[in-house]
Symmetry: C2
Subunit: 346 residues, 2 copies
Amino acid sequence: MASVDNITIYDIAHEAGVSPATVSRVLTKKARVSDRKRIAVEALIQKYKFQPNVQARSLSDMHTRALGLMVADICNPYYATLVVECEKAANKRGYTILLCNILNNKELENANLEKLYAQRVDAIIQMGCRTDDLVSDPDYVTRVGRISQKIPFITTGKLDGINCYCLNINQAEAMRLAFEYLVAYGHREIALIGGEKRDRSSYQRWQQYLYLMDINHLPFREEYVQEGGFSVDDGYDCLQRLLHSSRLLPTAVIARNDYCAVGALRAAHEHGISIPGDLSLISFDNTFLSEIVTPRLTSIDYNYAAFGSALVDRAISLAETGNAPKNSLIPPLLIVRDSCAPAIRA
Amino acid sequence: MASVDNITIYDIAHEAGVSPATVSRVLTKKARVSDRKRIAVEALIQKYKFQPNVQARSLSDMHTRALGLMVADICNPYYATLVVECEKAANKRGYTILLCNILNNKELENANLEKLYAQRVDAIIQMGCRTDDLVSDPDYVTRVGRISQKIPFITTGKLDGINCYCLNINQAEAMRLAFEYLVAYGHREIALIGGEKRDRSSYQRWQQYLYLMDINHLPFREEYVQEGGFSVDDGYDCLQRLLHSSRLLPTAVIARNDYCAVGALRAAHEHGISIPGDLSLISFDNTFLSEIVTPRLTSIDYNYAAFGSALVDRAISLAETGNAPKNSLIPPLLIVRDSCAPAIRA
DNA sequence: ATGAAAGCGCTAACAC
DNA sequence: GTGTTAGCGCTTTCAT
């Protein structure tokens, strides 16, 4: 019952009447062992609930079976959800997660990178911060470049000119889903709020927005694009500016993320604008926020479980076999709730 | 510039003309080394940006400088905030965090416990799940009991009858802050929604609620206490039941947490009840949710930074020196926002 | 103060 | 198939 500790493969080997190497072989399953010995050893492993010392194993075979996760901020439900899915996927394959929050601090980002490297993780996965930049910070590229020669580096963003693996959300498709949904509802005055063009995904969505406006023959209006960050307050400010700056109000708004949408909700509320009655609102990320506000938000989802396990699977197969597809795209998904309605034609 | 890898203390020792033991001594600072040699070694460490192999070090000195964090669900902002603070505190002391989500799954909870033990973390900190039970699950007590004989176990809850360290929020004081704030506003009909009595902190708050009702000479009404979980939907359901079951509506509601309060907000909205105009609402945890809903929620905060670093400091001093205070209480704090108003006396 | 040497517990050649 | 042995890179007695 009580797992005796400080037991080693030598103890097991001794009691089973075999050599330590044989015990190691049944542990790693990397070589064939006769049934008789294997069964004897397995029985003792059971009996003592023996768990091989991971540090010793790592020291010997140069693999830690640990994955470093660098994440912008786990307090953001988007990252939290993704991290949980990564953890599940890693568990399933016997890997451990080392979590580091970057907290929007470049010093910390550098330090975390070095730390994970010093911990000899088998691969590093980064989501957010400097991997989200439209044009990569050369200093960070250098740092990651050096490390990625030693261990695989996977990101949900990208880093120009180095050997890293990118698993991106298909932002153009995400925007298309949102946009066409609104168009199908008859909207023609469609605004875009939040985000920054120096952020790659914001930029890509903005490009796609321009393109879609164009092919749908909708008139582009400068003031319909309100840049401004990623927070609730940013969303609020953006909608405020939009409402004050335009004579022809939009009938629909595409928010950068659920945070921004929540801020927009508040601004609309203060202006006595009903959503979706007077204004349709759609957002990205489909975090739990979109479920809990009133009205519930129609939002773009990414299938977090598939996203997380794709990241981890890639990291692990890179660590173990050295190859994996260099880049690929996660397909987004439209989740319809209550924040959009048909446009009211004047 | 480029950190050469696979460099060991032997390389440093060789180049510095000293023995590996001396290099180890300057690394650990656990023994005196002559200034001359120390400086020479430090220079080489700088030069090569040498980082000692953590696995080798752990194997040798039996310390991993890693802390295992078991958390109910990182997607919950309460836990996310706490985890980030733990991480900061751990970083500051050179420790690494191994994160495990329990996800309300006893199998997973058991597995995570074993996993962290197998990883030889120097201490385990658990927040949530079975450490939150009013009466501890004997099976889990046994499991943790076995492990806590080997490594320190710290929790934000408790576990009956075993050698573990508890750092709890002062729930009675938290409830008192909320309650007296409402009383000072003239409220006499005060309801309590969400939570479950099998949850220890819910139970403690409920006890305190009864006590405070009593000493304030407020009449207790059965239907003013609506138990019902911890989610947004639970909060919604609780307020619904309350509104339907009582002829004399309360003028104030104390919600189990921000989630429940958000649900209550929705229920109130649907009933055309204005908050705080018709009904005051106060909640616990002071997560970012209380900032982003309308109206902003008055909520009880716990000083997460102090909470997180207290947990980690305790874990580390337990791991390093073997002693720390067995139990202590985190003082709560009232954060006033817009969801409460003076009672309207009929 | 410092060096030599013996582990820490495992894996991976290498022989047989 | 299986055992022997040499590391993996560090810390820590134990001498000196």
